[in-house]
Amino acid sequence: MIPRGQAVGFWLAALALVAALASPLAGDAVPAVAARPYLLAAIVAAALLFALAPRWPTLSAIFGTAASALGCAVTLNLLADSDIAGQASWGYWLLVLATWLGAALTLTRLAALQTADRTWRWLQDLTIPVLFGAFLIYLWEVAVRGFGVPPVLMPAPTSTAQRFAESLPMLGEDFVQTVLRSVLSGYVLGCGAGFVVAIIAYRFDFLKRGLLPLGNFVSALPIVGIAPIMVMWFGFDWPSKAAVVAVMCFFPMLVNTLAGLAVAGPIERDLMRSYAAPPVQTLLKLHLPAALPFIFNALKINSTLALIGAIVAEFFGTPLRGIGFRISIEVARMSLDMVWAEIALAALAGMAFYGIIALAERAMTSWHPSYRT
């Protein structure tokens, strides 16, 4: 049996769907749902599924998902009616509310499913956030278009997606400018420099004891602020952004690599000594592999920092392309759908960047205890 509260919730959702059938969708001129046979059928089906869901605990998640999907489809379909978009009345919102209640309960049911099988659990861990995210986007869409929020305040996700698809060449150009030129070159430069300095500092203990506290201190400073200086030094084009990115990446890399080089224990060191390994070999075969998890940690931190640095640096002046440039210029022109499209681009780039590094980490540090399950 599923908990009584949840069962009542499902029944309420079903009841609300039925009640919405008799309620006005928008002003008087708009025919109610009862006049649209397909939608009527869909809503009745969704209400039935919600009402039956509590009966079978394991099936409830599937029933709920199907009914929520139907609810979403119906409400989105209704928005295509220009009499409803922007002036939806309480009958419409009752539908949305019922769908929301049902979907929330469905997610709860999904999360409560217990499986011993690893593949199923993996699938569950993937499905729940995806459904949750999709439902949030649906709510955003419905709220913006149902209430008729002006696009200069908040564009609907669909119009952002449309804008994204329409301006692919421009987005591609911005991607090349910001991510491939500024971020990648600065990232490689900054991480490389941090790594090399860390190796040098590791050889000279005095330097290390001086650099480590300093590096920790500087990592905590708002380094993005150097953007205007770099723009002055290196001009408007990508080298100035790369410079900002390089400086931002340098300190986390330095601090993390130094921390990583110190993790190998005395027993391992003694073993290397008993092999009569020269310092270079000890570094290559013991200290660097041991430091890899720390180095990858820095690489991950830096992947986000690098994108932020490049985008903010573009606020201080750029040639006529780049993600940050486009964001600042389109905000000024109040075309927010373009801005959201750029943000989606930045988000995708950030996740892809992070994902690649995480994959590399998995491949190179698979020996590490944190990957044992």
Partner: protein
């Protein structure tokens, strides 16, 4: 590093304090020396050009003196930055737009308000996530995912949208700060609130403790170290958020505004001074949190 048995006792005449600080002082001194060198080398061309334009005879020492006191240097010398900092802090009344104190205050207030909102929101969210399986499964992956996204990019939107509905000034900036800094708090607190061992949770159950009691007497106290660690991270992020939030509005006031006007009018020294001010604010904020953390640890009876 090496096992403690191998460390020789330090001679009494060289206390640990000095031994620890020497490398830092030396490295800082080297950096300052390099800075001066860079100032001389990078400003030299500019100064020499100026001398040649005026057709004045000049010596090497003239050039060096010129590089260290140029009006709009490529690299300002450390003492110029310091001078500008002191001048813009002390020479103007604190409410004048030329005073750095005024700009720092504008940014600091947005930072602190945003930090407070963000930290509170982050803690509440973490408490909800720890207690609700659905949220943990559905929301937490998105919060982790959003760490990989350059969230700062949405700062201009927030400013413009709030501006369009008539909200300006401190509040939109704080929202950006709050939005940026609640992620580390949430993630740290989720980790902290679920840090008690299953054994400890079982013990609470044998005492038939209620959920509230488990939270108040076990989960919350054991999450405190995590809380302060993430607060330290997020206070800097909050400052960065406030500074960046001042950029898209054309920037009337604040450290971000100083940076922007400095870059528009080529006032290099002003930019550097604003940067130093931001660094000082960050340091002070972190030091305050550190002090509160120590005090709390001491009050809670930690040994260290």
């Amino acid at each position: 590093m090496t096992s403690s048995a191998l460390v020789l006792p330090r001679p009494a005449w060289r206390p640990a304090f000095i031994a620890e600080r020497t490398p830092i002082v030396v490295v800082v001194a080297i950096i300052i020396a390099l800075w001066y060198l860079a100032a001389i080398l990078m400003n030299a061309a500019q100064v020499r050009d100026a001398f040649e334009r005026d057709e004045v005879k000049y010596t090497l020492s003239d050039v060096i003196a010129g590089t260290l006191s140029a009006e709009r240097p490529v690299v300002p010398a450390p003492h110029q930055v310091l001078e500008n900092l002191v001048e813009s802090v002390f020479d103007y009344p604190p409410d004048s737009p030329r005073s750095l104190l005024y700009h720092s205050w504008v940014t600091l207030s947005a930072t602190v308000v945003g930090f407070a909102i963000g930290a509170l929101f982050g803690i509440v969210l973490a408490v909800l996530i720890v207690h609700m399986r659905t949220l943990q499964k559905s929301l937490l992956p998105w919060i982790i995912c959003s760490q990989m996204v350059p969230i700062l990019a949405i700062a201009p939107i927030v400013i413009v949208v709030f501006g369009a509905i008539g909200i300006r000034g401190l509040f939109p900036k704080s929202i950006i700060s709050a939005y940026l800094c609640f992620f580390p708090v949430t993630i740290g607190m989720v980790k902290g609130l679920s840090s008690p061992d299953p054994i400890q949770l079982d013990l609470m159950r044998t005492w038939s403790a209620s959920k509230v009691q488990v939270f108040a007497k076990l989960r919350w106290p054991s999450s405190i170290p995590f809380l302060f660690a993430s607060l330290k991270v997020s206070v800097t992020i909050s400052l960065v958020g406030a500074i960046v939030a001042e950029l898209p509005t054309g920037a009337q006031a604040g450290i971000g505004a100083r940076l922007l006007t400095g870059s528009y009018y080529g006032q290099t020294v002003q930019i550097w001074a604003a940067l130093v001010a931001a660094a000082i604010i960050a340091t002070v904020l972190i030091a305050i949190i550190d002090a509160v953390a120590r005090l709390t640890a001491w009050r809670m009876g930690a040994s260290a």
